[in-house]
Amino acid sequence: MSCAYEEDLTAYVDGELPPPHRARVEAHLGTCAACQGTERLLRVTVARMARLPAFTPSPSARRDVLARLDALPPTWRERLAALLRPGLLVPSLGVAAAAVLALLVMGRGGVEPAALDELDAGAFEVATNLELVEDYEVLGLDSSDDLEVVENLHELGTP
């Protein structure tokens, strides 16, 4: 079973313990042979890590990563910033203003009640009975003969 101080030993070796805690561990080390052995092992291991060869990245790393940045798609912020450039923004605002003006004019002179009177009477009837016409289409009755049959059926149905 490991000693209660064991988990403090690495922090002790690394100089990461606050002074009062460090003093307690030091006092314990003076009396515990198992912790002395572990502390020695930890110190040797830390020293060994410092001797391992360092990994050296390739010299082309900088060029490669900058090329990747250049290939990145623009973020929405960059796109927005590009759209808000004065050279683009001023003409765009002009086009937008013209579009709004056109819509206002069309809104005023658009569909007026009188226009309905100009519709063909047959078309008007179809329009008002659109639901019925759709039913006929569902039934496959779309020729004028068929419509005549349906009309006669309606007449038969009326009291």
Partner: protein, 204 residues
């Protein structure tokens, strides 16, 4: 408020300054590459990960709050990226066959570098640098991802526990525990190798 040069550069990066980014890259890419290498155990993959991490740094520079140290922020990005990559599982195989970095020291490691044993400068069986590298690689591969991240930042980057805690978004007590477990595991792996009870390149 006066910020350190790294922070100032990153704030410029956040505004889209690629020169500031290149400056930061030159200053820090070697440490990120070392971290990535110890994390995945594969030099080629470490290079790719390093690039990915810096691209992420560039894209997420706006998320940086100058209240955190730049290096802590960088290693948080690096750790999260490496952890995500490890969770995908594709590096598990790479870790079991740890490739030593191709350096001059590695040439020496073929036989000339003697590493002392735990009991003194004249061990019965000294490890070559290559054997030690392999043993450390295997030991790191057997650690949990967070233990490996904490160990790597501490042992190879010399980061303080407090900064590691910030990078890992963990408490200092948790980091102390992670580093202790990791260091002890690596130590015991090397000890076992030295005693001849495990071969250098197999998992424990």
């Amino acid at each position: 408020m006066e910020w350190d040069p790294d922070t100032q550069a990153l704030l410029k990066v956040a505004a889209g300054d690629k020169q500031a980014f290149a400056w930061l890259f030159d200053r820090h890419h070697a440490s990120v590459a070392r971290f990535a290498f110890r994390f995945v155990g594969d030099p080629a993959r470490a290079e790719e990960l390093t690039q990915d991490i810096f691209v992420k740094l560039y894209r997420h520079a706006r998320a940086y709050k100058p209240t955190a140290k730049f290096k802590t922020f960088l290693f948080r990005v690096a750790t999260n990226h490496c952890l995500n990559e490890m969770r995908r599982g594709e590096y598990r195989v790479a870790r079991s066959l740890v490739k030593a970095p191709d350096t001059d020291a590695d040439e020496d490691a073929a036989g000339a570098v003697e590493v002392p044993g735990p009991d003194g400068d004249r061990p019965d069986q000294a490890l070559s640098g290559r054997e030690l590298e392999a043993a450390v690689g295997v030991a790191l591969g057997d650690l949990s991802d967070r233990e490996r991240a904490a160990f790597t930042m501490c042992r190879f980057e010399g980061m303080a526990y407090r900064d590691i805690a910030e990078a890992l978004e963990a408490s200092e007590a948790a980091v102390k525990s992670l580093i202790h477990r990791a260091t002890l595991a690596v130590a015991r792996r090397i000890e076992a190798l030295q005693a001849g009870t495990v071969p250098a390149r197999s998992r424990a």
